[in-house]
């Protein structure tokens, strides 16, 4: 391996490398963004965009962030153009990803400034909402990571979330919030167990098993909700875990409200992401779990019990999803409603893929989604000329763009979706 480069650089130059093409494509994208920012977001834009960083009630009140709209956007366009042109001349290399990432952020900022020109909104509130909206998606994504890392495809996240929400509401109404939360986690784990049994022991197709669990949970919870909750309303009136401020940290401007003035579920999600990262990548059982996901036969030959590992991890995934599901009821509105998870489990699945099967990646993906979602709400208030339906599409379109443009072919665990048959 020592004489790895007997090649002249000239031969590397004139050949058509993928990297060069990528550099050109991203260069063109950046320039297109620059043109967009100039023509649409800067031209005829006047006034200041005011972003409120603090609420009057905060301990330390920061002044509002006032941005002169037109100059800022012209500047942004110029930077974008510079980055784009640079791509063509320098071929980008390792700057490509960075440039395009920075360029996207800049374009979003320019868009925001344009929409806010002459008005104001609470940036802190938006970030706090970003975090809140990201929680169920991040937990769903984390549940996906845990089970797919042992090669069990988890389409059932949606159902597990819904089961958690339902149990949280029902048991929470009867014995209180913590009881509800624990039961939700247990029931989530139970569905994890069912999924594991179906796919590991009974070798059912993993996708069918997931779809079926979703269908079953939706049917059962809707049935009970209309057949029972309708009549006995006290069964569907759970207490909500309130936000509590972590002393000192919670007082940090902007970041404080986002991270440290939240409820149990937000802290729980952050802790779980950290724990899962530790478990998967720094512990013995995590190593074994990943081995089972990548090459179950190899794990088996080394005396690792593939089936048991799959059971354990899928049950853990179910428990995480159960916790995430409880967020809908115990962490948000205190009552269950039919299909109240509204597809958040599927978005969690997307977050998992987008986050490259890594807990932190899934959290980041969920935050991007949460950001697009709360941005959309702010824009609706700012009265942009864009119809509300199109604003509501923003998170979804953003997800597609990011997945297509930045992620490309992510590599799932090698054995993902394949049943393991001993002998």
């Amino acid at each position: 391996m020592t004489m790895a480069a007997p090649h002249s650089t000239s031969s590397a130059r004139d050949i058509d490398t993928r990297k060069n093409r990528q550099a050109w494509i991203s260069g063109a994208t950046l320039i297109a963004l620059s043109i967009l920012v100039t023509t649409v977001f800067s031209f005829e834009t006047t006034g200041n965009a005011v972003f409120r960083l603090s609420r009057p009630s905060d301990t330390w009140v920061l002044p509002d962030l006032v941005v002169a709209a037109a100059p800022f956007n012209y500047l942004a366009a110029a930077v974008l153009a510079f980055l784009g042109v640079r791509q063509f001349f320098r071929g980008g290399a390792r700057w490509t990803a960075l440039s395009i990432g920075f360029g996207l952020v800049l374009a979003v900022a320019a868009f925001l400034v344009w929409a806010t020109a002459g008005k104001s909104f609470s940036l802190t509130g938006m970030l706090q909402a970003t975090m809140v909206r990201a929680v169920p998606i991040a937990l769903g994504g984390l549940a996906g990571v845990l089970s797919e890392r042992v090669a069990v495809v988890n389409i059932a996240i949606e159902g597990m979330l819904l089961a958690g929400a339902f149990t949280g509401a029902l048991v929470g109404s009867l014995i209180g919030g913590f009881g509800g939360l624990i039961s939700a986690v247990i029931v989530g784990g139970l569905f994890g167990l069912i999924l594991a049994a179906l796919v590991v022991t009974y070798r059912m197709d993993q996708i069918i098993a997931g779809v079926v669990i979703n269908l079953f949970v939706l049917g059962l919870t809707s049935y009970v909700s209309s057949q029972v909750f309708q009549e006995y309303r006290f069964l569907n009136d759970a207490p909500v875990f309130r936000a509590f401020k972590i002393p000192l940290l919670g007082d940090i401007p902007v970041i404080g409200p986002m991270l440290f003035q939240q409820n149990l579920f937000v802290y729980g999600a952050l802790v779980m992401v950290a724990l899962a990262t530790y478990y998967l990548f720094y512990t013995r059982h995590g190593l074994q779990a990943r081995a089972v996901g990548e090459h179950p036969r190899a794990a088996d030959t080394l005396g690792i019990n593939v089936y048991r590992t799959r059971y354990v991890n899928v049950v853990m995934a179910g428990m995480v999803a159960g916790f995430g599901g409880a967020w809908f009821t115990l962490g948000s509105v205190g009552r269950f409603d039919e299909n109240m998870t509204g597809g958040r489990g599927f978005i969690g699945l997307a977050a998992m893929i987008f986050g490259r099967w890594h807990p932190v990646g899934a959290l980041m993906a969920a935050l991007i989604f949460g950001f697009a979602d709360s941005l959309q709400q702010k824009l609706a208030l700012l009265q942009t000329p864009i119809p509300s339906e199109f604003l509501a599409m923003a998170p979804y379109i953003a997800t597609i763009i990011v997945v297509a443009g930045l992620i490309g072919r992510a590599r799932p665990p090698a054995a993902d979706g394949k049943p393991y048959i001993k002998e």
Partner: protein, 503 residues
């Protein structure tokens, strides 16, 4: 530690993989285990290593019967196995692979990788293995992956090492080094079982030889007295011809003319670097090289699976540098891909469907948008017979055939149609002598009837016995060329060139 297998029988549904097998394994000795594809060697050893449970029979360790409920038990009893198909997690590092299942752990289940690295280095030093514990296994050449497997077994302080076809992927130099390791292990008092299809190797290294056929022990041999021919006959049940018969070298027109071809790997590294060569009709050109030196990328570029970053490929005087896979097929290029399971066939398709995998659109089988299945079935049956593909019917799942028959199926598909250039990558990897004999005969037949044949193989003997000209590839370039038409080529010289020594 001595081990005795007594009356082992194992069935997979209707298949009897082992039937009443008795075998003794002794400390300080290398037992050579021979047998055709599907004879039951791997199954027997998987039973010994606890992966499978025997249906009947007993395992005795130092005279005491033991029962293994899983590989964990066997490992605990000091039995380690290096599997025929590597049991390594490609995305893990060497150290992670080695410790998997017996991880050194700190508090809170913390994975102690530092200790793991130390231990790997310790074993490295003891047996002269030299593998960097921090490298990802998928980035290692096959030869080194092999060593990782051995380190794994040693790390578990095994006294019995089972090596299932460990040399199938090694260069001659690597085999020599590997045998050194085996000998040092034997001298350290370990018991070894060595499975291979290569008779010369077994004669060189084994202290005793057992031969399996159809799941039964059919004979034993003493490596000092027995000959290769005797062993081969014992395995196959009939005399085997080792020499490849071929007609006199009479090259015709140039079929393939490659000039200054550069190919990039998926991560944009240069895999093939400005390579030029030609293949003429009626000749066999062999490309020798250790895996990972660009042969696969070269083949992919020639067959249209990977784009050429620069350079030119002429086929039948036509520029096909940017032609599609299909166009090249149509012009008469046949391709036997190196990984038959992954890319050569579709296991869930039937034999018939696989037989027409790249000819289904041909007029012979299709009219308009339709495929005429009866015609397909008939042809498939014919070719299966012609090429000795042993299958219950053409409607059988191809995945259920044995490896040798799968390979014959692919060869049948590629050679039955009108071709003029055969590109064969590792055409006989992992096959037994009988199948190898057959496939070599077929390739030579193609040459003798005027086709050009390009063979890429890491099996040096194969290259030497088939090729008219030999090109040695190292780090993406041809570093040596040998002419085999005027007399035998020096095997050592080729081996050295493969290892990068300047010719």
């Amino acid at each position: 530690m001595d081990i005795e297998l007594k009356g082992i029988t194992k069935r997979f549904g209707p298949v009897i993989a082992n039937s009443n097998v008795n075998l003794t394994i002794r400390a300080g000795e290398v037992l050579g285990l021979l047998g055709e594809n599907g004879a039951g060697k791997s199954t027997l050893m998987n039973i010994l290593s606890g992966l499978y449970a025997a249906d009947e029979g007993q395992i005795l360790i130092d005279g005491k019967p033991v029962v293994f409920r899983g590989p964990g038990d066997a490992i605990a009893a000091g039995i380690g196995m290096v599997h025929q198909h590597f049991m390594l997690v490609p995305v893990f590092t060497v150290a992670e692979n080695v410790i998997l299942g017996v991880e050194p752990t700190g508090k809170l289940d913390w994975l102690d990788l530092a200790t793991a690295h130390d231990k790997v280095n310790e074993i490295n030093g003891k047996y002269g293995l030299e593998v960097d514990p921090g490298t990802r296994v998928e980035d290692l050449p096959v030869g080194l992956q092999q060593r990782v497997e051995i380190i794994k077994v040693l790390f578990r302080s095994a006294d019995v090492l089972i090596l299932d076809e460990p040399t199938a992927v090694l260069t001659p130099q690597e085999v020599t080094e590997f045998f050194e390791i085996v000998k040092s292990l034997r001298d350290a008092g370990k018991a070894l079982v060595f499975i291979t299809h290569k008779l010369n190797e077994i004669l060189e290294i084994a202290d005793r030889i057992s031969v399996l056929r159809d799941g039964q022990i059919v004979g034993e041999g003493d490596p000092k007295t027995v000959t290769e021919a005797q062993l081969a006959e014992m395995m196959v049940g009939r005399p085997v011809v080792f020499e490849v018969e071929k007609a006199a070298y009479a090259p015709g027109r140039t079929l393939l003319d490659v000039s200054e071809l550069t190919v990039l790997s998926d991560d944009d590294k240069i895999a093939v670097d400005r390579v030029s060569f030609q293949v003429k009709s009626g000749e066999v050109v062999g490309i020798a090289g250790v895996q990972g030196n660009g042969q696969s990328a070269l083949i992919e570029a020639l067959t249209g699976l990977h784009y050429a970053a620069s350079g030119k490929i002429l086929f039948l005087d036509k520029d096909i540098t940017h032609a599609s896979v299909r166009e090249r097929h149509r012009m008469g290029m046949a391709h036997i891909p190196e990984d038959r399971q992954r890319s050569g066939m579709i296991s869930n398709f039937t034999v018939a469907e696989n037989m027409v995998l790249n000819t289904y659109y041909d007029e012979r089988y299709a009219s308009g948008p339709n495929i005429r299945w009866p015609d397909v079935f008939e042809s498939a049956a014919k070719y299966a017979v012609d090429f000795d593909v042993r299958t219950p019917s053409v409607f059988t799942r191809a995945g259920s055939l044995s490896g040798g028959n799968q390979q014959k199926l692919i060869v049948a598909r590629e050679l039955e149609r009108e071709t003029c250039l055969v590109v064969a990558a590792q055409p006989t990897r992992g096959l037994d002598v009988g199948s190898i004999e057959y496939i070599h005969g077929r390739l030579m037949h193609a040459r003798d009837t005027g086709d050009g044949v390009l063979i890429v193989s890491s099996e040096l003997d194969e290259i030497l016995s088939l090729s008219d000209r030999i090109l040695v590839m190292f780090k993406g370039r041809f570093v040596a060329e040998f002419d085999a038409t005027k007399g035998p080529v020096d095997k050592n010289a080729v081996g050295l060139a493969m290892a990068g020594a300047q010719a």
